[in-house]
């Protein structure tokens, strides 16, 4: 039981760091450009399909992962320059509608190219199979790799934003847009870069999670909505908040699905109540956070 429990905690962290990759881009784009981007899930899908196609034709998983990052970043730059750029000054309704339109275009476009059947990414042989962790826990090596990748990306993002010139500009952009363009920084290039960065992270997480599940049209939107829950909990615009929110949501989701059905069998004799409750748990968590801290855990009160 304890071993199984630790395994579930690791699964929760793994889900959490992958959600963070999605949520980080969303929250950065919102924080810096004030844009709510529903098409972020499409970039996740683009990454997964690019990885599946490249891995299938070259036989290399690593090349597939590289392709996911590149394809999503390129798609990100394209839609930023063609569509998103026109939306920064618009109200949220226009942003929601235009990015919803992009979802329709991306999903249908992908269906036209790849068809309606799901694709599958194979876990590379070097990362297949379980690994024995200290304490005798057998854990899938691939999932452990995802946790490590997620934590490395989170740390790199932290360094980028706090230690580099570009990061300082991004932070300044969150504080005061007019001021930093008045200081001679090309704001439009900065915006394109931030958008492409978020897109690349979404694409990477699409490829990695797509390997665990399947790669299909419409895979991005449930993840997008969960990422919204993450950034609402963490506080919109805050990267630390996104990390805390993502781990919290990952653990709640995984442990809820693990514990509640068996608890419900003990209490009511059937797993049904527990299953229903566990499917709603992260939204209940979000509601609780909003009741006590409407601005999110790390959000600043406006």
């Amino acid at each position: 039981m304890t071993l199984l429990f630790i395994e579930q905690i690791l699964n929760g962290v793994q889900l959490g760091v992958m959600l963070f990759l999605m949520a980080a881009g969303l929250t950065l784009v919102f924080g810096v450009m004030g844009l709510i981007n529903l098409a972020h899930g499409s970039l996740y899908m683009v990454g997964a399909f690019a990885a599946a196609a490249v891995a299938a034709s070259t036989g290399s998983f690593l090349l597939g992962v590289v392709a996911s990052i590149v394809a999503a970043a390129v798609a990100g730059v394209l839609i930023e320059m063609l569509v998103i750029r026109r939306l920064y000054g618009r109200d949220h309704l226009d942003q929601v509608l235009a990015t919803f339109a992009l979802i329709l275009i991306f999903s249908e476009g992908t269906r036209m190219v790849f068809g309606s059947f799901p694709l599958y990414l194979q876990i590379p042989p070097a990362l297949a199979g379980p690994i024995t962790l200290p304490g005798g826990i057998e854990y899938p090596l691939f999932r452990l790799t995802l946790i490590v990748i997620g934590l490395i990306v989170a740390f790199a993002l932290y360094l980028l934003i706090t230690k580099t010139r570009l990061g300082i500009q991004i932070q300044a952009g969150e504080e005061d847009r007019e001021m930093i363009s008045a200081l001679g920084i090309d704001i439009s290039k900065l915006y394109t870069f931030v958008f492409a960065l978020g897109a690349a992270l979404a694409g990477l997480s699409g490829a990695l999670v797509g390997t665990l599940q399947s790669v299909e049209v419409g895979m991005g939107e449930p993840v997008l909505i969960t990422a919204f829950v993450v950034i609402v909990i963490g506080g919109i615009g805050s990267i630390q908040g996104a990390l805390i929110g993502a781990i919290l949501v990952g653990l709640t989701q995984t442990l809820g699905a693990f514990l509640l059905p068996s608890l419900s069998i003990t209490l009511f004799g059937s797993p049904d109540t527990g299953q229903v409750l566990s499917s709603m748990l992260i939204y209940i968590l979000m509601a609780l956070v909003l009741l006590f801290r409407p601005q999110g855990l790390m959000g600043v009160k406006t």
């Binding site: 919102f30 339109a101 992009l102 609402v232 299953q275």
Partner: protein
């Protein structure tokens, strides 16, 4: 460019004419399509109340649409099996009598809206959009994981609900029943808009601070609008369940929330007949383009993108004289 009142009248009379035409040239499929469009229009009228007049961008109205549908589905299942829903100090049995099923759908939608509203209306702007989207998804997962009423498979309704004086199984009769509901909802929205409630709701959208200064609580106004809106959309869901004789978790899907929003945008935000025009155009395009190409969502996406970027105000805005409204 024509006055909006004339435009509204033309649309309403046009629906009557279409119903009669389809009947006389014996095209029951047209009647069913028009009924579908009118049901979508009712859902859109519900959303327009909060999105258009109230300035609250709800991306979770599928929750109410689904609640209305499930209310009808659950009542019908129990009516068909003669198994009471609840037997205790009072006994609740299933029913397929439309006025009852509508009433229960509307009440359930109102309760759902009160719950979602109580939390989401404490926030604004981007938070509100994300939270309504998330709660909509919560209902979707709830419907999927709830085994008592079909889970992922949904429920079939073997017989469409009944309405006094009409044989609802005939497309012609069901068309007029739906038309009656649509007309009642349009009149309700028109009355609300002209009432002190509607005027203050408009004022809350523009400057909430000013409304608060004169002693009206913006939260209460928004909450009232949100509940009425949820009720109207639930009524549309109830009709949709009877139209298809089937309910499934897909009624709760986020894409339904997006489509209801498209009805409003296509037709014109904060215009009385906007959602009606939007729903008619949507169903027509779906039928025409969906017939030629499997990929009609691609064209819908491009159309929506062009409207948002270049033609704010939708079809109604392009055809009638009235000034633009701004949304937060």
């Amino acid at each position: 460019m024509i006055p909006e009142r004339l435009y509204n009248g033309i649309i309403w009379l046009g629906l009557i004419a279409f119903g009669l035409l389809a009947y006389f040239i014996d095209e029951p499929y047209w009647l069913t399509l028009a009924t579908r469009a009118m049901i979508f229009a009712i859902a859109g009228l519900g959303l327009n109340l909060v999105l258009g007049y109230g300035g609250m961008i709800s991306f979770g109205h599928a929750a109410f649409f689904g609640i209305g549908g499930y209310a009808v589905g659950i009542l019908a299942t129990h009516a068909q099996t003669y198994d009471p829903i609840f037997a205790g100090f009072i006994t609740l049995t299933g029913t397929q009598f439309m006025p009852y099923t509508w009433a229960i759908a509307v009440i359930a939608g109102g309760i759902g809206a009160a719950l979602i509203g109580a939390i989401s209306l404490r926030t604004q702007g981007a938070y509100f959009i994300m939270i309504t989207l998330a709660f909509g998804q919560m209902f979707y997962y709830f419907a999927i994981s709830w085994p008592a009423y079909g889970g992922e498979d949904g429920m079939s309704i073997y017989l469409r609900g009944g309405f006094p004086g009409a044989n609802t199984l005939r497309p012609f009769d069901f068309f007029w029943v739906t038309f009656g509901v649509l007309t009642a909802v349009i009149l309700l929205i028109r009355t609300l808009n002209a009432s002190p409630f509607g005027l203050s709701l408009n004022a809350v959208r523009q400057t909430p601070e000013r409304v608060e200064t004169v002693g009206i609580s913006p939260f209460r106004l928004r909450m009232t609008a949100f509940i009425i809106s949820g009720m109207i959309t639930a009524l549309a869901g109830a009709l949709f369940a009877d139209l298809n004789k089937y309910v499934s978790p897909s009624m709760f899907s986020w894409t339904i929330s997006g489509e209801i929003m498209i009805f409003v945008i296509l037709g014109g935000v904060a215009r009385l007949m906007g959602p009606v025009v939007g729903a008619i155009v949507f169903v027509t395009l779906e039928e025409l383009l969906g017939g030629v190409s499997d990929h009609w969502h691609l064209y819908l996406g491009i159309l929506l993108l062009l409207i948002v970027l270049f033609a704010k105000g939708g079809i109604t805005g392009a055809l009638t004289r009235k000034t633009q409204v701004q949304h937060g």
